[in-house]
């Protein structure tokens, strides 16, 4: 890794260090500290740039302070965070269990589904699982539970003796013998029939089923109803100008796959220090950057609770410092949201709480820097964004099957639930009074981070909802970031390639 850097420095060292200092000098007035939990960020002041022409970069440092006519204005946007629903502040672990969160979820989605029933099958009676009578057609609403043969259990880890051949951990635990059970507060019933495919659904989904009890005490499913897409607010006026939100994930600073040059190119591009005027003009249209998880990789072996030697101490904090430098560069010019991910120094269970500001002494000084929760829910110019760092979709990928990743995203919207597998297979906080993953209103942009490859499509709902679904690839492996146009939800990628050997 360090050899990469060396090569890079010898190739473009001068230019870059100049650009770097110039930017810092132009914006080195520390803004007042900002409370990250405040809901409304004031409209951001426009950041200004010179038009740096790549060949004339060395002059930039000199001209940085004088503002002249060549200036390109960065566009502004209106930002509103709605993360408070994902925040855990006063809630503590006091012996509560997971039954409440299932109970609340069932209650929320069932109420919703009940309101849909008159339009679906008004002639059928609605029963509880206990009220089933053999042969009588009816509708039951409840939480699905999937019996899975291959599902790894913590019990087998503890109770089985170490086997001679280590267990292979498959990345998908779906098996043809899996079967679904529907549960409400009153009881459980086994589901039969071909309508309901166990490979699609997971434990934790709330659905309505039409069918009847068989003589064997099973429920033969004839039809199924999901909660469907939530209602959506109208997309703001489409005649406006192009403004972009950059979505990036999986920077993985400190991992072997991370390439500092690539990352620096990304930073330089969006801060407008790269390319010709045309490119800078497009960079000036970027109004928001979102880093969707897994920004650093820390050697987990160092965190076993023992006191560290000073060498290891720095090994631990080095990647975070490096990340802070990158973030500072961006925050100096553009509002940036950082979400915690699976690998980040944050808590494990969803919703993950904002990364602590003490990790980012540099960037945290800017009021453009926001440390957010995962999942993250916000509006930019009234375009509604909802996204996660990927855990919810990755977990669905382990416990169910779909044609592609986007289908999982689509399903979670239709199920009205961001993370149905939590808490069953996905760690989550044992909420007692709410289910924050219930999707109340439909986002315009729904993204997940840390996917293997970039994918996107438009999902259209029956009530005119239009959702841009995006899988953000891991930047450290692909060098790809995603640009979303707020005007029309169009989407394209930014690719940064670094071929050093040639």
């Amino acid at each position: 890794m360090s050899s990469f850097l060396d090569i890079f420095v010898t190739a473009q060292g001068n230019n870059l260090s100049n650009a770097f200092t110039s930017r810092l000098s132009s914006h080195n007035k520390p803004p007042p500290p900002l409370d990250t939990f405040s809901l409304h960020c004031p409209p951001l002041p426009a950041r200004c740039f010179h038009s740096p022409i790549s060949t004339e970069l060395p002059t930039l440092a000199m001209t940085a302070m004088d503002v002249d006519t060549d200036m390109i204005q960065r566009k502004q946007s209106l930002y509103q965070s709605m993360d408070e629903m994902f925040e855990i502040q006063k809630e503590m672990y006091k012996g509560q269990q997971y039954s409440q969160i299932y109970y609340i979820r069932l209650h929320l989605i069932r109420t919703l589904i009940y309101s849909l029933l008159p339009n679906w099958k008004p002639h059928l009676p609605v029963c509880t699982v206990l009220g089933l009578e053999e042969g009588k057609e009816c509708i039951i609403v409840g939480t699905l539970y999937k019996h899975m043969k291959l599902k790894p259990t913590i019990l087998s880890e503890y109770s089985k003796e170490r086997t001679v051949t280590p267990l292979v951990t498959p990345d998908n635990f779906v098996h043809p013998d899996d079967n679904l059970v529907l549960e409400d507060e009153s009881g459980r019933v086994n589901l039969k029939g071909n309508i309901l495919s166990p490979s699609v659904y997971v434990t934790g989904n709330v659905v309505a089923l039409h069918g009847k009890e068989t003589s064997g005490g099973d429920f033969l499913v004839e039809d199924l109803l999901e909660a469907g897409l939530p209602p959506q607010s109208d997309l703001p006026n489409k005649s406006g100008e192009d403004k972009y939100v950059v979505l990036v994930s999986g920077l993985n600073v400190g991992s072997s796959s991370s390439n500092p040059l690539q990352l620096q190119l990304l930073v330089d591009h969006i801060t407008g220090h790269l390319g010709d005027e045309k490119e800078q003009l497009s960079a000036a249209q970027i109004v928001q950057v979102v880093v969707a998880g897994n920004s650093v990789q820390i050697q987990h072996g160092l965190l076993n609770g023992q006191n560290l030697a000073s060498k290891d101490q720095s090994k631990l904090s080095e990647p975070i410092k490096e990340l802070d430098i990158f973030l500072t560069q961006i925050a100096a010019g553009i509002p940036i949201d950082i979400m915690p991910g699976y690998n980040d120094p944050a808590n494990f269970a969803l919703p993950q709480q904002p990364l602590n500001r003490c990790l980012f002494p540099g960037s945290a000084a800017y009021n453009t820097f926001r440390s957010c929760t995962n999942p993250h829910f916000f509006d930019v110019d009234n375009v509604r964004f909802l996204g996660t760092s990927g855990q919810n979709i990755d977990d669905l990928g382990k416990y169910s099957k779909a044609e592609d990743r986007l289908e999982f995203l689509e399903r979670t919207l239709r199920w009205r639930h961001l993370a149905p597998t939590a808490p069953n297979t996905l760690g989550c906080y044992p909420f007692t009074d709410r289910d924050p993953f219930f999707i109340e209103s439909c986002p315009h942009v729904y993204f997940v981070g840390n996917q293997d490859k970039y994918a996107t499509r438009i999902l259209k709902g029956s009530e005119g909802q239009v959702v841009r679904l995006i899988c953000i690839p891991k930047f450290s492996e692909t060098g790809v970031a995603v640009m979303v146009n707020l005007r029309n939800l169009e989407c394209h990628t930014l690719s940064f390639g670094t071929q050093i050997s040639s």
Partner: protein, 1091 residues
């Protein structure tokens, strides 16, 4: 009831009964006591009353009755009713009853006689009760020389007279029906003449055999002969067994009664669908082969009851009501039960797929269950601990409630269920107290008894047994909660019902999984005893049954040797070659004698009837080529003079096993495979138990001459093998290395041939086995089976190694005698030993194993050990004051009772505890504490105790052969120097302690103006690193918390209800508790960063 603790309801095996035992059980090791017990048919009027009562009851519960009628057995074919069709059925249970002789079948009989009842099921699923008439009890005595026909009739009269002295025998017109002169031969000792005169004494009733034997043993006065006592023959054979042997019926086989040879009974005595009378001579018993090896579709009922105990007390039938009974009925051979129901006291919300029947009174619950049993008519009743708990509880409860009509659960109309205490003791299984509940016509199969008999497990609770065999954890509801659930609402009662159903379901799953029905039926067929004997009696009845059958073919009779209590002959047992302890990194070949003891008996023709007494040896002057002198000095004739019966039995058993194994290979159908596998296993066990039978000093027919000869031959062979191996496989004889025998046990020899690869060792092993087998008399055979590589030999009967049967890949890790499963060890020992062996043997990484031990010890001392690994569990078998010595778990139970009587362990429960730090000089028993209490109050554990008393011995055992100075290296290294102790949150000095904030980084006290800081001035700048550590801890705990609690939700089978389970047997129980607590603490730590 709460099966989590069910194993504790019984005293642990191998312990003498606590109270003074009833006098009749005082004989020390009694194989078993076989006594016939006559049951008389009750009077007619009783019967009528009973029926009326039932009818009245039925009207009251019409609806219920309708529900049950659905499950009736299939209707009878008309061919049975008009007696034009032969009846073919599989019998499951045989007993007898005393009733009037059947005038229609035996016209000239009079007075009461024994009627044998065979219960069974036809292929169509009809239940059968076959009353067999005309079979008479009898036994033999040797006829004194010179007894003529007149003497015999005089003898008959005298004996009849003596029998009459006992008033009990007055009910019959004649006690001694006949005395016949027959030609027989005693099985004991080699005899040259072919037969001798014997008297066959036929008596009226089965119990008279014993009383008649008593009279003859003491001696009777006969005119012309004088006072004489007689040796009796076959007078100790149970009447039912006698009948089976004479009719060639074996347990669980198919019996045919030809058309027109039976009479349908006019007044049914039983609830069976088809009841008929026939003569014993008309029965056709089918050999269980081919078509007749199948199984009839019997009905298997699995049930469980729940009782509402009072706080802090174990439920007692005199006080505590039965609140639920869950039932599952399965047809043999089918996968799913066809009836699932639960009877509850008070209302209960419905359960999908289960028929929930709720009643207002306990009386109704009990009677509903009785009616259910009658309608369903199960052939086999199974459950977990039903024989000791559920059934007796139900019956005693009915007694308390004065429900006289309840205990009619058997198949006989007017016969009440009887409960009696029994003690079962045998050398093999130890002494066990049990209750015997007679349910006529139904086989009881208590899975707990079967488990204790067939498997060595660390715990026999239903929970741990199902975890072991079914890989399923069972929710365990503490019995103190049961009453609360019952007193709640229909929902909580439903919760309880679901739990109760699961307890009824698991025994059925176990039965299927372990193929108990197949295995036990096959065992009954092979050994010829009724199925019910297999669980309630020891091994010897099985051998006796085979011996009697064989003897009958050969016209031999077995003497009834007077049991000589107390005087135990001993003889030298098997040999064990000196173990050369060490860690062997070259392949070790294992040569095994296949079925050594049976082979020896066959090879040397060892039997009762081939044994030559010292006296006879002189008298008979046998040529030396016709006799074998065994290494223990006994003489046995060779088979050319007299073929032994035992060798013949063994030959048949082993031949049958070979056939079964060959068929097993061919078989495709899993059911057929199950039957065949059950059979070959039964045959193997039977063959091995023959030797034990001859050595059981207080058994039916002990003969120490045989058993001591067997072991002496065994010893000789092991020595012989060792010598041959070490002589032949040497460099002098052209082999590359000198072979070395490093260890030998009863029937195996471990050889190190010195070759480096498994393949070569296998070749040499095979060569050695063939070569040495050639030097033995057939069928003794030395087989080469496996290679251990590497092999860690600790001492005799203790070793571990990788087990190879083919040179490419090892099969498994095999360990013997390394205590990893002992109950009074904590889990840490097991984990540590297993992991070390794994690293040493499989990874071949001795330094890795050492490092692992060091890390573990360091974790222990640094207080980083998971508490659940340190929990030790012991059964509380009697109340505190009854223990002579103070014991840790008893003291703890007392202390817990003082804290909270409701949740404290009771007699019969298992008490989990950890050893905590206590004042200097505190006794070990004072240092025990409840793990939950420890968790909640941060009480420091005592790592030294665990180091010294738990892990050091097993570790040193493993490492001593490998490491020099193992003790110093492992237990006293630098890793033992740092210790950390948690601060207790209660008690003692902590009341005076003041809490102060410390720096997260360096633990320096933060004082003064920095009060609200997380870090001290010195550690400022290390925020990122220190925060990462704190948050990583939270993150790990969250992960654990989520996985643990969702697992428990999974086990309890509900997402929307809180987890109640308190199963301390569950490996994650303490972890779950701890995760919850740690999580709360870690969150507080994390909060400190939100400055």
């Amino acid at each position: 009831m709460n099966k989590g603790n069910s194993n504790n309801r019984k005293r642990p095996a191998q312990q003498p009964p606590a109270g003074p035992p009833p006098p009749k059980h005082q004989t020390p090791v009694m194989e078993e006591e076989d006594m016939d017990e006559d049951v008389f048919i009750q009077q007619e009027e009783d019967l009528v009353n009973e029926d009326e009562l039932i009818l009245r009851d039925m009207e009251d519960r019409e609806a219920l009755a309708d529900r049950m009628r659905k499950w009736k057995r299939p209707g009878l074919s008309p061919g049975y009713l008009n007696q034009s069709q032969s009846i073919v059925f599989q019998q499951l249970e045989i007993d007898y009853v005393i009733g009037e002789s059947h005038k229609g079948l035996i016209p000239n009989a009079s007075g009461p006689a024994a009627i044998i009842r065979i219960f069974g099921v036809t292929q169509e699923g009809n239940s059968i009760c076959c009353n067999v008439h005309g079979f008479e009890p009898y036994f033999f005595i040797s006829c004194p020389p010179g007894m003529g026909p007149d003497d015999i009739s005089r003898f008959h009269q005298v004996l009849e007279g003596r029998m009459r002295e006992d008033k009990r025998n007055n009910s019959v017109p004649k006690c001694i029906l006949r005395v016949e002169l027959v030609q027989k031969k005693s099985i004991m000792y080699y005899q040259q003449h072919s037969s001798q005169p014997f008297l066959k004494i036929v008596v009226a009733l089965p119990t008279m055999v014993a009383s008649c034997r008593g009279i003859l043993d003491k001696g009777i006065q006969i005119d012309g002969i004088g006072m004489k006592s007689f040796m009796t023959y076959e007078s100790n054979v149970l009447f039912v067994l006698r009948f089976m042997i004479d009719c060639k019926i074996v347990g669980g086989n198919w019996i045919e009664v030809p058309a027109h040879k039976y009479m349908k009974t006019t007044k049914n005595m039983s609830y069976s669908q088809l009841e008929f009378d026939c003569l014993y001579s008309e029965l056709i018993s089918h050999v269980p082969e081919g078509e007749y090896s199948k199984m009839a579709p019997f009905r298997i009922l699995s049930f469980d009851i729940e009782c509402a105990g009072r706080k802090g007390l174990f439920p007692e039938p005199t006080h505590d009501p039965v609140i639920q009974i869950a039932n599952l009925v399965t047809l043999q051979g089918e996968e799913n039960p066809f009836v699932r129901n639960v009877m509850t006291l008070n209302t209960c919300s419905p359960i999908v797929g289960v028929d929930v029947m709720s009643f207002d009174t306990e009386r109704e619950v009990l009677l509903a269950w009785r009616d259910f049993i009658r309608e369903i008519d199960p052939d086999i009743i199974i459950g977990y601990n039903i024989c000791k708990f559920d059934l007796p509880y139900l019956i005693q409860r009915a007694e308390t409630l004065k429900i006289t009509e309840f205990p009619l659960l058997g198949r006989i109309r007017n016969s009440r269920v009887r409960v009696k205490d029994t003690t079962f003791s045998s050398r093999q299984y130890g002494t066990r107290e049990s209750k015997e509940v007679t349910l006529e016509g139904r086989v009881q199969f208590d899975l707990l008894q079967a488990m204790q008999r067939d498997y060595k497990l660390s715990s026999y609770s239903l929970n741990s047994v199902s975890a072991h065999f079914l890989n399923e954890q069972k929710e365990d509801v503490h019995h103190s909660i049961i009453s609360d659930l019952q007193n709640g609402n229909p929902e909580t009662r439903r919760r309880l019902a679901v739990y109760c159903l699961k307890d009824a379901y698991l025994p059925q799953r176990l039965l299927d999984k372990l193929m108990y029905i197949y295995n036990y039926v096959e065992m009954a067929r092979v050994t010829g005893v009724p199925i019910s004997f297999l669980l309630s009696r020891g091994q010897s009845i099985k051998v006796l049954s085979q011996l009697l059958r064989k003897a009958k073919q050969k016209n031999l009779v077995l003497p009834n040797v007077k049991q000589q209590g107390g005087e135990q002959g001993t003889y030298e047992g098997a040999t064990v070659l000196e173990a050369r302890a060490g860690f062997y990194e070259k392949p070790i070949a294992t040569l095994d004698f296949a079925s050594l003891y049976p082979s020896i008996m066959m090879a040397y023709n060892l039997c009762y009837c081939t044994l030559v007494t010292a006296e006879d040896a002189r008298k008979l002057n046998l040529p030396p080529e016709c006799v074998n002198k065994t290494p223990s000095g006994e003489l046995f004739v060779k088979s050319n003079l007299q073929k032994g019966i035992l060798p013949e039995i063994l030959e048949e058993l082993l031949a049958a096993r070979r056939r079964a194994k060959a068929d097993l290979k061919e078989a495709k159908d899993p059911l057929v495979k199950a039957v065949l596998d059950g059979r070959q296993l039964a045959l193997k066990i039977s063959a091995n138990s023959v030797y034990g039978f001859t050595g059981a000093t207080i058994g039916q027919l002990p003969c120490l001459e045989i058993s001591s000869s067997v072991t002496s031959y065994g010893r000789q062979m092991i020595e012989h093998t060792k010598k041959l191996v070490e002589d032949k496989f040497t460099t002098l004889k052209g082999y590359e290395h000198n072979a070395e025998v490093i260890y030998g046990d009863t029937d195996s020899v471990m050889v190190q041939f010195g070759v480096p690869t498994v393949d070569e060792a296998m070749k040499l092993g095979r060569e050695a086995a063939d070569y040495i087998s050639g030097t033995f008399i057939k069928p003794i055979k030395l087989e080469f089976e496996k290679v251990y590589f590497p092999y860690l030999l600790i001492s005799k009967k203790r070793y571990a190694g990788l087990y190879w049967t083919n040179p490419d890949k090892y099969d498994k890790m095999d360990t013997k005698g390394i205590e990893t499963v002992r109950r009074d060890n904590c889990l840490l020992v097991k984990n540590l030993v297993t992991e070390c062996l794994h690293r040493i043997l499989i990874d071949r990484d001795v330094p890795g194993a050492v490092q692992f031990v060091k890390n573990t010890i360091s974790d222990l001392l640094m207080n980083r050990m998971d508490l659940s690994l340190l929990v030790i569990t012991k059964g509380l078998t009697k109340a505190g004051e009854d223990y002579e010595n103070k014991a840790a778990h008893v003291e703890l139970a007392e202390r817990m009772r003082k804290r909270d009587a409701a949740t404290a362990p009771n007699v019969g429960d298992r008490v989990p505890y950890v050893i905590i730090k206590a004042a200097k000089g505190a006794k070990a028993y004072e240092k025990s504490e409840d793990p939950i209490y420890v968790l909640e109050n941060n009480i420091p554990i005592d790592p030294q105790y665990y180091l010294e008393n738990q892990i050091s011995k097993p570790l040193l055992r493993i490492f001593e052969p490998i490491l020099k100075n193992a003790s110093r290296e492992l237990l006293h290294g630098s890793h033992t120097r740092a210790i950390s102790i948690s601060t207790p949150s209660t008690g003692g000095i902590m009341k005076f302690a003041k809490k102060q904030l410390t720096c997260v980084g360096c633990k320096a006290v933060i004082s003064g103006k920095d009060q609200n800081q997380t870090l001290c001035a010195h550690c400022k700048g290390r925020e990122a690193e220190l925060y990462c550590k704190t948050v990583a801890n939270v993150s790990d705990l969250e992960n654990l918390f989520g996985r643990l609690w969702t697992q428990c939700q999974e086990c309890q089978g509900s997402l929307h209800q809180d987890v109640l389970c308190t199963s301390r047997d569950c490996p994650i129980f303490y972890r779950r508790k701890k995760a919850q607590k740690d999580m709360a603490e870690a969150k507080v730590q994390l909060e400190r960063w939100n400055f």
